[in-house]
């Protein structure tokens, strides 16, 4: 849907060949997956638990400013680890092969107000299958933003920088609402459907537990440190929300990332699906620590190609994937975090204003899109 199709130079044979090369990369990792990987995730989980425990312990004395600072920082990092490198990736089934029921996509629950089960549906199924397909992948603007020139502009979009900022602050609630498809389910008939009510109830239950833990029980346990602890957990949640929102925005929003027409994915082959993932995602460059704190979503392109490969393998896979981008003369969108965040926000601002009317599509154009 972007003015020039950046994949137009590829023949369909080339696209299928690309698919085979990517499959080979995947097979290699799977054949080599083993003890070291299992040890890695176990270590991360245990480190996260210890960090959270210690931080919460320190916060019991958060009436003293140094304790508040250390505890809040620790808890923020622990929450980010829980959501990103651990939760997101386990819920993708990346570690199911270990057959450890405690580290499994069917049993894992995360420190987040959206219940795992619902998130898995909207994220793994909808977003990952229909990546960047307007109207199918609601991650594109979460249904509240305009993310492409070709989308119709509405005065409502003037406020989208503000919506986006509010969403960033309360990101986990935004996700929960989004997983519930709140917007579309708010009409009377749907609101009453038993299926929706059950899901809404599950979210309510999860929110209650999370809020009770963070904003009632833990502050109460802190006694005289009640208020500082309350502030600390609020801050930690805020930090986590802002961080994850930024990382996730960098995954699909920066300039250079393509979006696709609903029609373009009809009868999509495996090669074409891969190509769409390649063109629809963007990476963040940086240090090892940076990759870790983003849950390796800094390797968003690799993650979208192989959502079920263990996250600790994306770095090595990235080298090979990038070589394929070069071989097939495609643009590998990547950059340091500040640059990517700026780029994504820039787009949010730019598209809040109307632009020139999109070109009317010709049948010719549609054929090109099928290839995309």
């Amino acid at each position: 849907m972007t003015a020039i199709d950046p994949t137009a130079h590829l023949t369909s044979e080339q696209i299928e060949e690309l698919g085979r090369e990517l499959d080979a990369i995947r097979d290699e990792v799977i054949a080599d997956r083993g003890e070291k990987d299992a040890a890695y995730i176990r270590k991360v989980i245990s480190a996260q638990r210890k960090l959270e425990l210690v931080s919460r312990g320190v916060l019991l004395f958060s009436i003293f400013p140094p304790a508040w600072l250390i505890g809040t920082a620790g808890l923020s990092v622990a929450k980010i680890m829980d959501n990103m490198e651990i939760g997101h990736n386990i819920l993708h089934g990346q570690w199911d092969w270990m057959r450890d029921p405690k580290i499994h996509s069917t049993t894992w629950e995360w420190d987040h107000v959206s219940p795992s089960e619902q998130w898995k549906h909207s994220h793994n199924e909808l977003h990952h299958t229909y990546t960047n397909v307007i109207g199918k992948d609601n991650d594109l603007g979460y249904g509240i933003m305009r993310v492409d020139e070709d989308q119709k502009w509405h005065p409502f979009h003037l406020g989208q920088p503000l919506w986006n900022f509010i969403n960033a602050c309360f990101f986990e609630y935004g996700i929960a609402a989004y997983d519930l498809e709140l917007g579309k389910n708010l009409n009377k008939r749907r609101r009453k459907s038993p299926e929706f009510r059950a899901r809404a109830k599950a979210v309510g239950r999860k929110i209650r537990k999370q809020v009770l833990k963070d904003y009632v029980i833990h502050p109460l346990l802190s006694g005289p440190s009640f208020l500082p602890t309350l502030g600390a957990t609020f801050t930690a949640n805020l930090v986590r929300n802002l961080w994850t929102h930024s990382v996730i925005m960098c995954g699909h929003f920066p300039e250079g990332v393509q979006v696709f027409e609903r029609r373009s994915i009809k009868g999509e082959t495996r090669g074409q699906w891969y190509l769409r993932q390649m063109m629809g995602s963007a990476n963040i460059s940086g240090s090892k620590a940076m990759h870790f704190m983003t849950g390796n979503l800094s390797h968003q392109i690799e993650h979208h190609l192989f959502p079920d490969l263990p996250s600790n393998r994306y770095a090595e896979v990235a080298v090979k994937v990038r070589a394929l981008f070069e071989k097939y003369e495609l643009e590998y969108v990547t950059g340091p975090l500040p640059k990517q965040v700026f780029s994504a926000w820039h787009k949010v601002f730019r598209l809040s204003l109307p632009n020139k009317k999109p070109k009317v599509e010709t049948p010719d154009r549609e054929q090109e899109l099928v290839a995309a």
Binding site: D27, E125, T129
Partner: protein, 351 residues
């Protein structure tokens, strides 16, 4: 309020503090063998028995309920990062003072778990345990005369019995390829020297397979003996036939090894056990499609192996991953992605 009620309240409160995890997730970090934890054990020693068999000494967690001689235990071992479960007979007596248990494992060719345990298991390793089970056990009332008929690693549950209770009149016939293949040989000969056991070793490499008709000559009073037999299917089949021919089948107790290994082929009968449907499937169609066509309610999502929205327990048989060709065999707890798996022989899908 009673103390248990108080305890459960306190536990509830603790659960609220640790949500969405459980208090046990944190306690496991420091004390994985404590009472109330999922049952685990720690390997404390590995003693070689023969060239390809070893005894593994395990300290079970506090939740271990104890076993009866002859029973087996399922253990879950992480090998190459993957948790695999197998059942092994317990070879330790039930009253071992240090509270440890032992299993004795014979490495079978290509056996992932057995080879790992015999050759690579390290003291200190944590393993998963189930409570002991099995009804190949001694009766409450002591029989006057006993016969143990064993072959190969079939000796392991019987060794558990021998070490547990001494009977007045015990005969054992044990088959193994060569003398050095007899597990526990020294201990058995010690019992013989102490006149606690009469033993016949059949070395099948030189003597050939045991002909069950030779029983009359080896143990003339075998029909009067309460008999426990454990070994390969051939031996047990012959024994069962022989005992019932003589009308004494109620005296024979047998324990069969794992039913024959699944042979992974191409397609087969797929049973959807929850729904009670069986359909014939080829080796190329995803089980998700097979199920849906048969009218079974199958969960699904992306239908291309990426969302894990279709995972379903594989209860029996084997399936092939259509992308990698990898074969997955049924084991407790094994889940498969039905959208990218096809039948590799008959299998049972829990839907």
């Amino acid at each position: 309020m009673t103390s248990t009620a108080l305890r459960s309240r306190a536990w509830k409160l603790l659960e609220m503090v640790t949500t969405p995890l459980l208090p046990s997730d944190y306690l496991d970090l420091v004390s994985p063998l404590r009472a109330g934890a999922d049952l685990r054990g720690r390997i404390e020693a590995v003693h070689p028995e023969t060239g390809d068999a070893a005894t593994i000494v395990i300290r079970p967690g506090r939740g271990w309920r104890g076993h009866t001689a002859g029973q087996y235990v399922r253990i879950g071992v992480d090998i190459d990062g993957v948790r695999l479960w197998r059942a092994y007979s317990l070879t330790s007596p039930t009253n071992r003072l240090d509270g440890r248990i032992t299993i004795t494992v014979k490495a079978i060719p290509d056996g992932k778990v057995s080879n790992h345990l015999v050759r690579r298991a390290k003291p200190g390793t944590l393993i998963q345990l189930d409570q002991p089970t099995g009804d190949f056990v001694l009766p409450q009332a002591k029989p006057a005369k006993v016969l143990y008929l064993t072959a190969g690693s079939g000796i392991t549950p019987v060794m558990g019995m021998l070490r547990d209770i001494a009977f007045d009149d015990v005969v054992m016939i044990h088959c193994a390829p060569q003398p050095q293949d007899v597990i526990f040989r020294n201990e058995l000969h010690g019992l013989v020297a102490d006149k606690k056991l009469r033993l016949t070793e059949v070395h099948t490499d030189t003597d050939g397979m045991l002909d069950i008709a030779r029983l009359d000559e080896l143990v003339p009073d075998w029909t009067e003996r309460e008999t426990w037999a454990c070994g390969p299917a051939g031996l047990l089949d012959a024994a069962e036939e022989h005992w019932s021919e003589h009308g004494v089948q109620e005296r024979l107790h047998t324990e069969r090894f794992r039913p024959s290994i699944v042979v992974a082929g191409d397609g087969g009968d797929v049973t959807f056990s929850t729904t009670g449907k069986t359909v014939d499937a080829d080796g190329a169609t995803p089980l998700l499609d097979i199920g849906e066509e048969a009218g079974v309610l199958m969960p699904s999502g992306c239908r291309m192996g990426i969302c894990f929205g279709c995972v379903t327990p594989l209860k029996a048989g084997a399936v092939r991953d259509l992308r990698t060709g990898e074969i997955t065999e049924a084991e407790p707890g094994v889940l498969i992605q039905t959208c990218v798996s096809a039948a590799a022989g008959p299998c049972d899908i829990e839907r």
